[in-house]
Structures are given as structure tokens and as C-alpha cells.
């Protein structure tokens, strides 16, 4: 990519609706062709500086493994931001429906022509070896340790050692997945939030063996995707889930004990804690199965009892009342 020399710059401390991530630096740079063009970066930059992160940012193709809500959201976001995306699914049928979901999402958020261009950047495959053209892979399959270990074994074998492999796990120790590959230094965590296009945060998880370069690349990718990255140690539940899941568990327990209905608990949390969404509706959104799995992981990793999923959640899981995707959870949903 051409060089970009800073002509004028300002450190912006005022947050605004579209740029809540202040402080940041904005300004005007001169590209190799002599053209002036605007830029924004989280780093500081003075006139005369070379803007480094973009030229050294060699990611053009991103592999996404998994076609659930998160995989679809991540793939759509990457395509919208101009990256080529190779989406790996287990079966051709799920690949097709995932591609449709990505198209729907892109048409909703972009103009007609931009959406068409973005959709054209997405290809699908069922074979791990087709991910070898990607410089960065985000694994986002089911939150199951055995399944993720297998995926990482495959990714380690099928991608070049220069490719960074990131897992979107919300609860599994990233170091364990890294250990499945021959080059654990290229494995990091990159935890997106649901819905991917709307949530501003990405937790970058740094396992012990991860190289600084891999972590920096994940951070630069998060920025290129318009997100704010927070780097965290490889620890149970990282920041957000470590704080959130006990609360979700407790909310379900309130319903289990008959303290109040799901609607009432949600209303109380929305109005009394000023959360945009109540905890039970949130469980339905993320899925009872995912919530239970994350709680079990946190319980196993910390040994703390309050992480153990409450009886009501276990019962809902057994009955298949998994939330929005199943049409029923704490609430009932019309099938699409």
C-alpha cells in the first residue's frame, strides 16, 4: 500500500455519536500519489509522521470459521469494511443459508451498490485447506471445548505459520486452543459481542505464548473494523462475561424462585440499572445453551459456586427452550 504522510492532525478529546472512542487522532495525510486524504487513528500522529499501521497492515483476506450468529455477523462486518472473506462451514447447506443471512444483513446496513460489492467479497467453503489464502482467521464455532480444539488442530495444519488465528470464544481458555497448533505464538482471542455490527467492543485476549505481533495485528484489525479493542489477560470469562454471567444466572434464579416474572425482572433492570435490555431477554438473545456452557466453563475454571448454572437454566436447556433462535426461551418468539 502507498505511503501516507501526515500533513495536519488534531487529537480529538470530544466524543460524538459516531466517534464515541475519543481520544483519537484525526487529520489529513498525503498519499503516495500526492492526493490529500483524511484519516483517523487511535494513535497520536504529528505532521511529517508516516501513518504506519495501514501500510504494514497486510490483511486483505479474512477466514471465518463457523456459521452461527457470531460467525455470520463477523463475516458480514469484515466484508462491509472491504476485506475478502472466506467462510468455512461444516456443510454446504449451512454455508448457503449463512451466505443468505450475510447478504440480508449487508443490504440492511449498506447502500445497494456497496452491499452488492461486499456480498461479492464473501466466498464459502467446507474445507479447512481453503483458508490458506487468509492472513487472519477468526474461529467462531459452537462454544464447546472439544469442538474448538479440533478446529484449532485443523487450522494449525491448514494455514501458513504467518496467519494469525483468533478465537471468538467467550469462556474457553485461549491458551488451551493455542496448544493444539504447532505455532501457539500466532493464536489470540478476539471476542466480539452480539450483534457484531452494533457492539463497539472487542476484547483482545493475550495468551501467554502469543507474540506481540499477533496481538498488535488483532488490535489493528479491530480498529479497521471500526471497533474499540481492550486487551485482556487470558483469564476466565475475560472482562465482560466474568461480570455479566453471574448476573444473568442470578436473574434466572429470581424467576426460578418466583421472586418476580421474567418481564418484571427485565423491566426492573432496565429502569433501575439503566441497562438497554433486561438480563432474561439477553439470555434469550445469546441462547440458553451458550449461557449455560459459559457458566459451566467459568465454574470449572474458577471453582466458584455462584458460576454454576441455576436449575431453571439447566431445565430450559434440557427442554430445548434455547431462546430466540428456538422460538422460545424466557419469552416466545414468532418464527421467521
Amino acid at each position: 500500500m502507498a505511503s501516507r504522510t501526515v500533513v495536519a492532525s488534531t487529537r480529538v478529546h470530544a466524543a460524538s455519536r459516531e466517534h464515541p472512542d475519543a481520544p483519537y487522532t484525526s487529520g489529513i495525510c498525503r498519499t503516495g500519489g500526492g492526493k490529500l486524504s483524511p484519516f483517523k487513528t487511535k494513535q497520536t500522529a504529528q505532521p511529517g509522521d508516516e501513518l504506519l499501521e495501514k501500510p504494514s497492515f497486510d490483511i486483505t483476506t479474512i477466514g471465518v470459521v463457523g456459521t452461527g450468529q457470531m460467525g455470520v455477523g463477523i463475516a458480514a462486518l469484515c466484508a462491509a469494511k472491504g476485506f475478502n472473506v472466506v467462510l468455512k462451514s461444516r456443510r454446504e447447506e449451512t454455508a448457503r443459508s449463512a451466505l443468505e443471512a450475510i447478504s440480508r444483513q449487508l443490504r440492511k446496513t449498506l447502500g445497494t451498490q456497496q452491499a452488492a460489492n461486499a456480498i461479492a467479497r464473501v466466498s464459502t467453503t467446507t474445507r479447512f485447506q481453503d483458508l490458506k489464502c487468509a492472513q487472519f482467521v477468526v474461529e467462531s464455532i459452537v462454544e464447546d471445548e472439544a469442538a474448538k480444539r479440533e478446529a484449532f488442530r485443523q487450522l494449525g495444519e491448514n494455514t501458513p505459520p504467518t496467519t494469525v488465528i483468533a478465537t471468538n470464544t467467550s469462556s474457553i481458555q485461549v491458551g488451551k486452543l493455542a496448544a493444539e497448533t504447532a505455532h501457539p505464538n500466532r493464536v489470540v482471542g478476539m471476542h466480539f459481542f452480539n450483534p457484531v455490527h452494533a457492539m463497539q467492543l472487542v476484547e483482545i485476549v493475550r495468551p501467554q505464548d502469543a507474540s506481540g505481533e499477533a496481538v498488535a495485528k488483532a488490535g489493528a484489525l479491530a480498529e479497521a473494523l471500526g471497533k474499540t479493542a481492550i486487551t485482556v489477560k487470558d483469564s476466565p470469562g475475560f472482562i465482560v462475561n466474568r461480570l455479566l454471567l453471574p448476573q444473568l444466572n442470578d436473574a434466572a434464579r429470581l424467576v426460578q424462585e418466583g421472586v418476580a416474572s421474567a418481564e418484571e425482572v427485565d423491566e426492573a433492570v432496565r429502569l433501575g440499572l439503566n441497562h438497554p435490555m433486561g438480563p432474561l431477554r439477553l439470555i434469550d438473545l445469546i441462547g440458553v445453551d451458550t449461557a449455560v456452557e459459559v457458566l459451566r466453563q467459568l465454574h470449572a475454571q474458577t471453582g466458584e459456586k455462584h458460576f454454576a448454572p441455576c436449575k431453571l437454566l439447566e431445565k430450559m436447556l434440557a427442554e430445548g427452550k434455547l431462546g430466540r433462535k428456538a422460538g422460545e426461551g424466557f419469552y416466545t418468539y414468532k418464527r421467521k
Binding site: V7, A8, S9, T10, R11, V12, H13, A14, A15, S16, R17, E18, H19, P20, Y24, S26, G27, I28, L36, S37, P38, F39, K40, P47
Partner: protein
């Protein structure tokens, strides 16, 4: 055809309880009273406004005027040119006076900026910048002027202290202006120096405030005992974004509008006794000195350091306190400049009266120079 400005009305500027409706009424009533002209003699209305849509959920402002004044059902338009809406509306109104049967045109600028979060308001004001080039890269309004400040400092050695002097001067003038946003606020150099950085190098006290308010002027073909001459008006435009410009230390549209207006009025810049310039940020006032030809490029800092532009200086700038301290209810700001000119030229500006003020120039800028309107008014001999 000779044109006149026959009356001015202005509300208090500041964070106000009044609605768009009430602000529009108050300024209009005051203006028509000042002009000694009843509403039935107004042939057309031009409403200047920038953000009533996103900030106050109200559009269709030309019709709002008829909601406020149920007896008025004549021709009416809304003009939007970001922060130059007021100046652009005056220029449009002057054009309307050349239409058959149009003798009096009321220009009323109105804005309601309070009531939304700063994050929301900042993003809405950023709509004055290019969607793709500026807004998406976080070049909010203060950031764009911060880039100019940085470049001006690099090229000409303009310092933060020079910017502070602009702020200090305009706050001092506002202390003499009862309708100014910061009429009652005493500001010291220390406060300005120590205020928090908003967009480097600009600090809080380098920025105009978010104000509510309205201002109105009555333009006319008829000379009355209240008249001043509307000697000339000019409007020039440029790209929305600085990225598409050849210079980052000057606003070419403002330069062009000023020289066009001076030529039309057959005046030179040295004939002007006092100035109302668009100091949305302190650096904008210094750039205005240079664009208007008060000094050569790079000479602005010397003017402010030597006190030339204070009320008692050789060329007073922003006697009302400017956008910095009179306030910046965006759509009203350009109209308020003309209101100040009327008062000054009629010798009615009270404690802030510029002695012997016979010619005034108003310089009103939209965005970061995408629009510039210059109006010249002179006293009737």
C-alpha cells in the same frame, strides 16, 4: 436599486427555555417594532436555520413562521447553509427585493441547540462536514478548525497565547452586551489558558458555545428614519472538506466573498470602521483578519497582540462579543451580525458603541469555509 436595512431584533443568546416558536416570535416582534413596520407590510420571509430537524425534530420552518404569526400567509422560505445560514439568508433576501412587488423582506435566523447530549449535538453539527471525508474520519467541527490552527501555527508562528487573546477580547466585549450568552461571565487569561483541550491545540475557551437564540433584520427598498444602507452582499462557496482544498491556512470562499462585496460597495477594506467576523473558534477570527485583508497572510497575530481589534483599537472586531461570547445559535448567528451592524451604524450600541462607526462588514462562514457570506452596511449620512 438602493437597498436598506430598516430594523433589527434579537433575543438573549444562551441556554434558554424558549422553543423555536417562541424565539422566532420574540426576534420578529422586536425587529418589526424597531423598523416601525407592521407585519402586513412584509412581502416575504426568509428563515435561516441549520439543525432544527435533528436537534428539535422540527422541519418546514417557513411554515412555522405562519404558525407563529397566524395573520401571515405570504411567501416564505427556509435557507440552510450550516453556520452561514444567516448570511446566506440575507443575501437571498437582498435578491428577493429585486422581484416585482417585493418591498420588505424579513430575515429571521433561529436555532435551538440545547436539550440534546453533547455527543449527539456534536455529531449533528458535524453534518456541516463532508459525510465520507470528514464525518466518517472523526473530523468533527472543532477538529477541522484545530487542523487550521495547527497549520497556521506551523506556517506563521501563531501561538496559543494569540488564540487566548481573541477569546479574552470577545469575552470582554460580551460583558458590555446585555443579550450576549456570556454577558455576566468574567473571563481571565488564566482560565482560558487552563481550560481543557477539546481538539489539540484548541481548548474549551477557543470554542464558541452551543447557544439557543434568534435574530431578525428587516431589509427593504424603502428608506426610513431607521434605515442604514445595505451597501452590498456576496456569497461564495467551496468544497465541504479541507481535504479538497489547496490551502489549510485560509478560507478561499471568504476571501472571494469579501473582495466581491467590497467591489460592489465601491469600498476598500480600509474604509470599514468595524467588523463582525465569524469566530466559531478563535483561530477562525485570526484567519478572517487575513482573508478580509486587514493584514497580510500571517499578520493576524500581530493585530491581536497590538490590540488593534479591541473596541478602542484602530479596527474593532466583534464588538458584540462575536460567536465566542455573544453566542452561536447557528442559524441566528449571521443575522445577529447584521443586527449588531444596525445598532453600531445608528449609534445605538450603548457601552460597546464604536466611535464614529459609519461602515461595517459582516463575515459569516458555513462549516469550515464551504460557504461564506459577506454583507456590508453603511450609515445614512
Amino acid at each position: 436599486m438602493d437597498l436598506f436595512a430598516n430594523g433589527a431584533g434579537k433575543t438573549k443568546f444562551g441556554v434558554l427555555d424558549a422553543s423555536l416558536f417562541e424565539l422566532m416570535r420574540e426576534a420578529t416582534v422586536a425587529c418589526l417594532q424597531d423598523a416601525e413596520t407592521p407585519l402586513e407590510r412584509v412581502d416575504a420571509v426568509v428563515v435561516a436555520n441549520f439543525l432544527a430537524g435533528p436537534q428539535a425534530s422540527q422541519l418546514h420552518l417557513n411554515s412555522l413562521f405562519s404558525s407563529v404569526f397566524r395573520e401571515y400567509c405570504g411567501s416564505s422560505f427556509r435557507v440552510e447553509a450550516a453556520c452561514a445560514s444567516g448570511g446566506a439568508a440575507i443575501h437571498a433576501a437582498a435578491g428577493l427585493l429585486h422581484s416585482p412587488g417585493v418591498e420588505n423582506v424579513l430575515v429571521v435566523g433561529v436555532e435551538k441547540l440545547s436539550g440534546k447530549s453533547t455527543e449527539e449535538t456534536t455529531a449533528n453539527i458535524a453534518m456541516a462536514g463532508d459525510r465520507e471525508l470528514d464525518q466518517k474520519n472523526g473530523i468533527i467541527f472543532p477538529a477541522a478548525y484545530a487542523l487550521i490552527a495547527q497549520q497556521h501555527s506551523k506556517e506563521f508562528g501563531t501561538t496559543l497565547e494569540d488564540l487566548a487573546l481573541v477569546s479574552l477580547k470577545n469575552h470582554a466585549n460580551a460583558n458590555l452586551n446585555p443579550t450576549a450568552h456570556f454577558h455576566d461571565k468574567k473571563v481571565t487569561l488564566e482560565e482560558i489558558r487552563e481550560s481543557q483541550e477539546v481538539c489539540s491545540p484548541l481548548r474549551l475557551y477557543d470554542c464558541s458555545p452551543l447557544s439557543d437564540g434568534a435574530a431578525a433584520v428587516l431589509l427593504s427598498r424603502n428608506k426610513t428614519s431607521r434605515s442604514v444602507n445595505l451597501a452590498a452582499s456576496s456569497l461564495r462557496t467551496d468544497s465541504l472538506s479541507l481535504c479538497q482544498r489547496a490551502t489549510l491556512t485560509s478560507l478561499p470562499a471568504a476571501k472571494a466573498a469579501a473582495s466581491d462585496a467590497l467591489a460592489k460597495a465601491k469600498l476598500s477594506i480600509t474604509d470599514v470602521d468595524a467588523f463582525e467576523v465569524h469566530d466559531c473558534f478563535t483561530i477562525a477570527e485570526l484567519v478572517a483578519y487575513e482573508d478580509l485583508g486587514l493584514c497580510k497572510p500571517g499578520g493576524a497575530a500581530a493585530l491581536i497582540r497590538n490590540g488593534e481589534t479591541t473596541l478602542s483599537g484602530s479596527r474593532p472586531v466583534n464588538p458584540d462579543g462575536g460567536l465566542k461570547a455573544d453566542g452561536h445559535p447557528i442559524g441566528a448567528s449571521g443575522v445577529a451580525q447584521a443586527c449588531e451592524a444596525l445598532l453600531q451604524l445608528r449609534g445605538e450600541a450603548g457601552k460597546r458603541q464604536v466611535d464614529g462607526c459609519k461602515t461595517m462588514l459582516c463575515h459569516n462562514v458555513g462549516g469550515v469555509g464551504g460557504t461564506a457570506a459577506v454583507t456590508i452596511l453603511t450609515a445614512i449620512n
